[in-house]
Amino acid sequence: MHFHFQLANHYYGGLSQIEDIVTPVVWGLRALGHRVTMGILPQLPNWPSVVLLLEYFAYEPAINSFLAWRSDTSLPRSCVGLICTEDLDDALVMNNPEHPGRRENLLRAFPYCDFVWPIVPSGYDAYVNAERLAFLDYGYIDALRLEGWPTAQRDIDVLFYGSINERRRAVMEGLTARGLNVAATRGALPSYIARNLMGRAKLVLDMKRADPVIYTSPSRICAALQQGATVVSELFDTSRLRFLYDYTEACEFGDIVERCVDLARSPDVVERGLAARERFSRGT
């Protein structure tokens, strides 16, 4: 089959932040023998090609042009799949004044999609019929496997994967106070820099951005595991995504600093990540 990622609704700043979400889907489909293309130009392939959209309809023109295209009965048949990455009930995302209308517009889009693939097990079944809804578990992909640096050259003790906010900064300062060398990907670094940082790090730290968040980030954990990183994950998710903790050094928020200190000083810190990646490759 032919899958075409139409990413114009993320142009251009947003495109820099979705690589960890898009590339596993692209290369997972290619591993199954499908043809996958990406684009931002308005020409879209007709049925039997599948147009894949990644949710983000914060702005009216994006949702309106989508609905107009899908409502135009004079056009040839098309097929649309929507990948959803966020918790529908996360007010920080779905009711954020910087992204007005994001939730409402997503709900408007659902009836016009042939299928929906959520990557977090939020309440999508309340809005999408079961026959059009399939959960997408992130897993290992050989094409995205990368190698980190030799242990002796790993000069970053802990790398924060994501932007630094007040919640994460408190942990960052705790780690620094304990003498660890700490760095951060800052949320929007291109992959050639983020991968360099990850390759240099003994530990990659995966923390939620805010207390109310209830789902971990499969794209972030998988990106780190693909590079053989030893991932310290904040332990809070009780959903089906908790299986990802099997491949991380998971611990609760209050224990993160001590866990990182212990691990960073452990002689097998790098080997733990490499072993986790092997388990990840066999188990997912």
């Binding site: 495109l15 692209v26 990406m38 929007a188």
Partner: protein, 301 residues
């Protein structure tokens, strides 16, 4: 040695635009056995690490930082990577970037050395005598054998702008499938487009440019695409026409249509890449650019 790209002046979206500059240099240095790292802000390792600053100092903060560190008790080493023609008024006399030239000139006086990837006239500037031409070449680690069908006829690499857009539209009008990287798409996206492209179009953004864009040509060649480059360059970079087919802007559309429809584009691209691999080397170019006494001192440190 450790080379550290200090990219504060490009954070955050600028970092996406200089990947084609940084990655080949980093890869070539890695093939020579050096360690390459990236950092921002106060992450400035002291001597004997080499801090590489990629030009665009319209905001003077990083140049001010260089000056402060150079004046302090600890020794630091800085190298400036130039990537634009200093005679190009659209870049260096652009009212949107009023301080770009002045701060480049300041940076050159502070830097221990510089590498320019376009062979323009730095010699007349204070500190310019420490600049060396860095010829972009083949790096084995950047080679990528695309497994995707080449279903895009022509890919415009860069912003479309007023000069490229008519060519884009003319090709669409001739029934070709045409795409563009728009200058700001992230690498995972652009690389996918290159892998699908029969032809990568390397057309100048404006009339009167003197130099080819080695970063663009090299990125496409490493991925086996056929490159068609506008015939503008008569200097050392004209060597790249051995691997990128020269074409005038007037002939571009007809030539692109003929090549795209010939079915020979993949073969042309692969042959060009093999020639590029035999005749050029990013690592060897870097060694030539490291002929200053400074590097012997660094190697001994």
């Amino acid at each position: 040695m450790r080379f550290h790209f200090l990219l504060t002046n490009h954070f955050r979206y600028g970092c996406f635009r200089i990947e084609d500059i940084c990655v080949p240099i980093a890869t070539g240095l890695g093939e020579l056995g050096h360690i390459v790292t990236y950092g921002f802000d106060d992450d400035v390792p002291p001597w004997p690490a080499v801090n590489l600053l990629v030009e665009n100092f319209n905001n003077p903060a990083v140049v001010d930082q260089m000056a402060r560190l150079k004046a302090g008790p600890q020794r630091y080493c800085f190298g400036v990577v130039g990537h634009e023609d200093i005679a190009d008024a659209a870049i260096f006399d652009n009212p949107s970037f009023p301080d770009r030239r002045r701060n480049l000139e300041r940076a050159l006086t502070l830097a221990d050395f510089g590498w320019t990837i376009v062979p323009c006239e730095y010699g007349a500037l204070a500190g310019g005598e420490r600049m060396r031409f860095l010829e972009f070449g083949y790096a084995r680690s950047l080679r990528h054998n695309a497994s995707l069908p080449r279903d895009i006829d022509v890919l415009f690499y860069g912003e479309l702008g007023g000069r490229r857009l008519p060519l884009f539209n003319a090709l669409v009008g001739r029934g070709l499938k045409v795409e563009a990287s728009f200058g700001l798409l992230p690498a995972f996206f652009v690389q996918d487009l290159i892998d699908r492209a029969k032809i990568v179009a390397d057309i100048g953004r404006a009339d009167g440019l003197r130099f080819l864009t080695p970063t663009r040509i090299c990125a496409a060649l490493h991925r086996g695409a056929t490159v068609m480059s506008e015939q503008i360059d008569r200097g050392p970079l004209a060597k790249l026409y051995r691997y990128a087919a020269p074409v005038t802007i007037d002939d571009f559309v007809e030539t692109a249509v003929a090549v795209a429809q010939s079915g020979r584009a993949p073969e042309i691209g692969q042959k060009a890449r093999e020639l590029f691999a035999v005749e050029t080397s990013m690592a060897a170019s870097l060694l030539r650019a490291m002929t200053l006494p400074l590097f012997a001192e660094l190697a001994a440190a």
